[in-house]
């Protein structure tokens, strides 16, 4: 064990020492000698949300490539206070880089700034805190994603011949204060406004919990079976078994229209079953790679090309659900 650690330390020190050798004398003196590997801590909104599994896996693989250590730390359930506490702990531990998916864009600003002030390279991913001193944001354009969802809904409504009638519409979101989700809702509403007649009856919040998401939908439909349209700002409701949503299944069979964010394997499976007509998803694998690669650059004091790294969007409908399912790995975590 010791031998491996020594080998790893030597391996890490080698490029630094080599670089130092070729640098002028003064610069060589100023470059700090690293005695431990670079540690990047990625802080998701919650641990229990499997939607991050692709980000995590991609980040860990990228870290192995970069020969840095990636930690995945966060509250088990979405909890801003705990997320702040965790970032404070990381500041105390003096990790080299932090990437945060912000549960609350306003409340996280202070702790992000503290980390930056402490010399830690901080980025945001998935959900941004634009008011903070973070180095960059990495993720999809959530407003654009919302627009895509809205356009898809307009298309579906028109195809259904419901364009002239008022439609009872429900939005299921994760956290009402999360920047990414707010942006998605904003894009959706702008894309549909004036084109179709959506009456927003409720915005349900599931706190990005899969079980809660399914329960909220079922409970709402039991009370309001007259609902016509669902917009899901994330695919939480479809990560669990489809049998857990019988009322929703019936509602879909009665012709209910639904558009959802995320194109994970279980969400695609649910869509293929008829639970959703259109899916719009960020590329989470790319997100993981971008987080690690750019933070390593920043830690190594190399210039970053941008403060926003777009991961792009993936669109799916009845025509390509099966094809996409073939390209993705099934989740085996629940």
């Amino acid at each position: 064990m010791k031998l491996r650690r020594i080998r790893r330390g030597a391996f890490l020190l080698l490029p630094v020492l080599t670089l130092n050798f070729f640098l002028p004398g003064t610069a060589r003196m100023n470059l700090p000698v690293r005695t431990r590997p670079i540690v990047i801590s990625i802080v998701p909104k919650s641990l229990d949300n499997p939607m991050y599994i692709e980000v995590k896996e991609a980040a860990e693989l990228a870290a192995r490539e970069q020969n840095v250590v990636v930690e995945w730390v966060g509250p088990f359930k979405v909890d801003v206070e705990t997320q702040i506490r965790i970032i404070e702990g990381l500041i105390r531990r003096k990790v080299d880089g932090i990437a945060v998916c912000c549960s609350d864009e306003d409340r996280l600003v202070e702790v992000i700034d503290q980390a930056v002030d402490a010399g830690i390279k901080v980025a945001t991913f998935g959900a941004d805190a634009p008011q903070s001193k973070r180095l960059f944001y990495c993720g999809a354009d959530n407003y654009q994603a919302g627009l895509e969802c809205g356009r898809a809904m307009v298309r579906l409504v028109q195809e259904k011949g419901w364009a002239d009638r008022p439609l009872n519409t429900v939005i299921l979101t994760g956290d009402l204060n999360a920047h990414d989700l707010k942006e998605r809702m904003r894009g959706f509403k702008e894309a549909t406004a004036g084109r179709i007649n959506l009456n927003y009856r409720a915005v349900l919040a599931c706190n990005e919990d899969t079980t809660t998401a399914a329960k909220e939908v079922e409970a709402y439909l039991k009370k309001h079976p007259e609902t016509d349209v669902f917009f899901f700002t994330g695919g939480w409701a479809f990560l669990g078994p489809p049998e857990a949503m019988p009322l929703y299944d019936q509602w879909c069979q009665r012709g209910g229209l639904a558009v959802s964010m995320d194109t994970f394997y279980p969400v695609l499976q649910a869509a293929q079953r008829g639970f959703v007509q259109v899916l719009v998803g960020p590329n989470y694998r790319k997100m993981g790679e971008l987080i690690v690669n750019n933070l390593v650059r920043a830690i190594n004091e190399l210039p970053l090309p941008s403060t926003y790294f777009e991961t792009g969007l993936e669109l799916a409908d009845r025509n390509n659900f099966g094809k996409l399912l073939q390209t993705k790995k099934p989740w085996d975590i629940k």
Binding site: L47, P50, E71, P75, F76, R85, G89, R92
Partner: protein, 608 residues
């Protein structure tokens, strides 16, 4: 006893002046009631103190036992949680993370997060439940992180153990990476071939100790604190003392004794017990001042009771002493009155000892009165006898004959003899009168009879001779006057003179014998018949009238005077045989001459 008495007189000078019975009764009541009362108060005080201390000890022990039991139960629960370390998902995670299989480990990572967070929910004080592999990869309730194993104390403890010694290990208190104060418990995880795979650990908020101990109060200000194996305080009701040394808090002289046992140091009563698995010490600290203040209340109550009792005792003693001494005071005033008037009579109201004393006093007064009457009569009688004795001495015949002798001497110009005769006669009468004194010295009495014999010998010529043999040692003692002269007169006139011839002899002996003075008047005269002697002796002993003849008056007079003056055990006794003479034995008490002569009345009364 007298030393003790004098000691008390010295230390209690005022009390000795309080000589009234009433004061003594009050003091006796006070002493008798105060001693048991004070003893009772002291006994009660110390018994209560003992019970209180025992109760404090028992209560502290119970509290500490309860804390220990709660912690043991808690630790036992943690042990059961750690039994999950051989769970399939944990083992898979450890193996795959060791192999750096990122894709394959996602499933177990998510499952473990869920499981570990579910465990965390079981107990509110759990801060984190983690599994750490040999690479320092730690999965817990807050995700996956990297730890420096060389800085992980718990990991180091468990890594140095053997699979056979896989008991729960403890570490801390320490600060976790989220800034919380925790202590850690953990167990090693071994693979199929007893190969060390890593550890499972639980971080418990140190606030658990506060939750268990904070509300425990030992008395008003006593408390329970907990110290770790290094003697650092890990829980104290005053948070600022956490982290400080127990030794410094309790005082260095205490040493390590706070770890177990019960003892008192300064104002603190300390009881410690070691929580065995973690080697922590649960220490109960009570304030001794509270005990003392509790006891001060008891002492105050005791003293108040004693003071109240003293007042009550004084009041009761006053009443009782008054009730008891009132008859005595009446008796006393009656006795004082009796000093001036023997006819006083004590009015007896009670039938108790005081009443009996009064009755006895009345009887005594009556007896005194009787005795005084008797004494007066006896004195009167004594005076009469004395007067008769004097009258007997100053017989005209004796004076006439003596004067005849003197005239004859003058006619024959025996002036020297005349002078001696006159001197002897003068001395004879002077001693007879003795200035009215009842008692004279034996010397004077012997001189008196010597003068008498000198005069009579001059008259009677060679008919008889006389010899006086008196011990020098007895001459200073006193005797009734004029006792020997009548006996000598009898010896002359009824003994030697009727005897034919001129070899009559009268011997007068005086000597001391067994605290008495004896005189013998012996003559070798005609003597008396046995019957006559017996009759005279009987009369002398029984008090019958002696016959007037043969000197009976002289013997009776002398005997009565002696008996009246000194009692029946003194007096005369005769021994005689016809033709051989007579011996009269006179027995008197031994009376020493006093420096200041008392009156004869007092003297006689004293002798009686």
């Amino acid at each position: 006893m007298s030393k003790i008495g004098s000691f008390f007189r010295k230390i209690l000078p005022n009390f000795t002046r309080l000589r009234s019975l009433k004061t003594k009764i009050i003091l006796s009541f006070l002493v008798l009631s105060l001693i048991p009362l004070v003893l009772l108060a002291f006994l009660s005080y110390y018994t209560y103190l003992e019970i209180l201390q025992q109760n404090v000890r028992n209560y502290t022990e119970t509290v500490i036992d309860r804390v220990e039991r709660n912690l043991q139960i808690y630790l036992s629960d943690l042990g059961r949680i750690l039994d999950l370390r051989n769970d399939y998902y944990i083992l898979q995670f450890l193996k795959l993370s060791q192999l750096d299989d990122i894709e394959g480990n996602q499933k177990y990572t998510y499952r473990l997060w869920e499981n570990l967070n579910n465990i965390k929910k079981y107990k509110t004080d759990l801060r984190d439940v983690t599994v750490t592999n040999l690479k320092g990869v730690k999965i817990g309730c807050y995700g996956v992180s990297q730890v420096d194993l060389t800085q992980n104390g718990l990991f180091q403890i468990l890594a140095n153990r053997t699979p056979q010694d896989n008991a729960m290990a403890f570490y801390g208190p320490h600060e976790d990476w989220l800034g919380g104060k925790v202590f850690s418990v953990g167990c090693a995880i071994y693979g199929d071939y007893d190969n060390f795979l890593g550890i499972m650990s639980i971080d418990v908020e140190i606030d658990l100790l506060a939750r268990i101990c904070r509300n425990i109060r030992l008395g008003k200000s006593g408390y329970v604190m907990i110290a770790d194996q290094n003697g650092q305080i890990i829980f104290h009701p005053q948070e600022e003392l956490i982290g400080k040394s127990v030794g410094l808090l309790l005082g260095n002289p205490v040493g390590e004794s706070w770890r177990s046992g019960y003892y008192t140091y300064g104002n603190r009563v300390i009881m410690g017990k070691t929580l065995t698995p973690v080697n922590w010490s649960i220490i109960g600290i009570s304030d001794r001042a509270e005990l003392v203040s509790e006891m001060t209340k008891v002492a105050r109550i005791s003293f108040a009771l004693i003071a109240a009792s003293i007042i009550i005792v004084i009041l009761v003693a006053l009443l009782l002493a008054g009730y008891l001494t009132r008859p005595l005071q009446e008796l006393q005033s009656s006795m004082r009155a009796a000093a001036g008037d023997l006819n006083t009579y004590v009015n007896v109201h009670t039938a108790d000892e005081i009443g009996q004393l009064g009755q006895t006093f009345n009887q005594m007064l009556a007896q005194i009165r009787g005795l005084m009457r008797q004494s007066v009569q006896e004195q009167k009688k004594l005076r009469q006898i004395e007067m008769r004795a004097l009258q007997e001495q100053i017989k005209p015949h004796f004076i006439y004959n003596t004067l005849e002798v003197i005239i004859g001497l003058l006619e024959t110009n025996q002036n020297e003899e005349v002078i001696k005769m006159v001197e002897a006669l003068g001395a004879f009468f002077r001693i007879s009168l003795s200035q009215g004194e009842e008692l004279i010295t034996i010397h004077d009495e012997v001189e008196h009879v010597r003068n008498y014999l000198y005069i009579q010998k001059f008259r009677h010529g060679d008919k008889y001779d006389y010899r006086i043999e008196v011990e020098e040692g007895i001459t200073q003692y006193k005797t009734l006057k004029l006792l020997l002269q009548p006996l000598v007169e009898n010896a002359i006139y009824h003994g030697v003179r009727p005897r034919p011839g001129k070899d009559g002899l009268i011997v007068i002996r005086g000597y001391a014998a067994e605290e008495t003075i004896c005189f013998e008047v012996i003559d070798n005269g005609v003597g008396m018949a046995r019957e006559q002697v017996a009759e005279i002796n009987d009369c002398l002993q029984g008090g019958k009238q002696l016959p007037q003849s043969k000197g009976g008056f002289g013997l009776r007079n002398v005997h009565e005077r002696i008996v009246l003056a000194f009692g029946q055990e003194y007096g005369l006794w005769l021994a005689s045989e016809p033709g051989k003479g007579t011996k009269v034995i006179l027995r008197l008490p031994l009376i020493e001459e006093e420096p200041e002569p008392a009156s004869s009345h007092d003297q006689i009364a004293r002798e009686r």
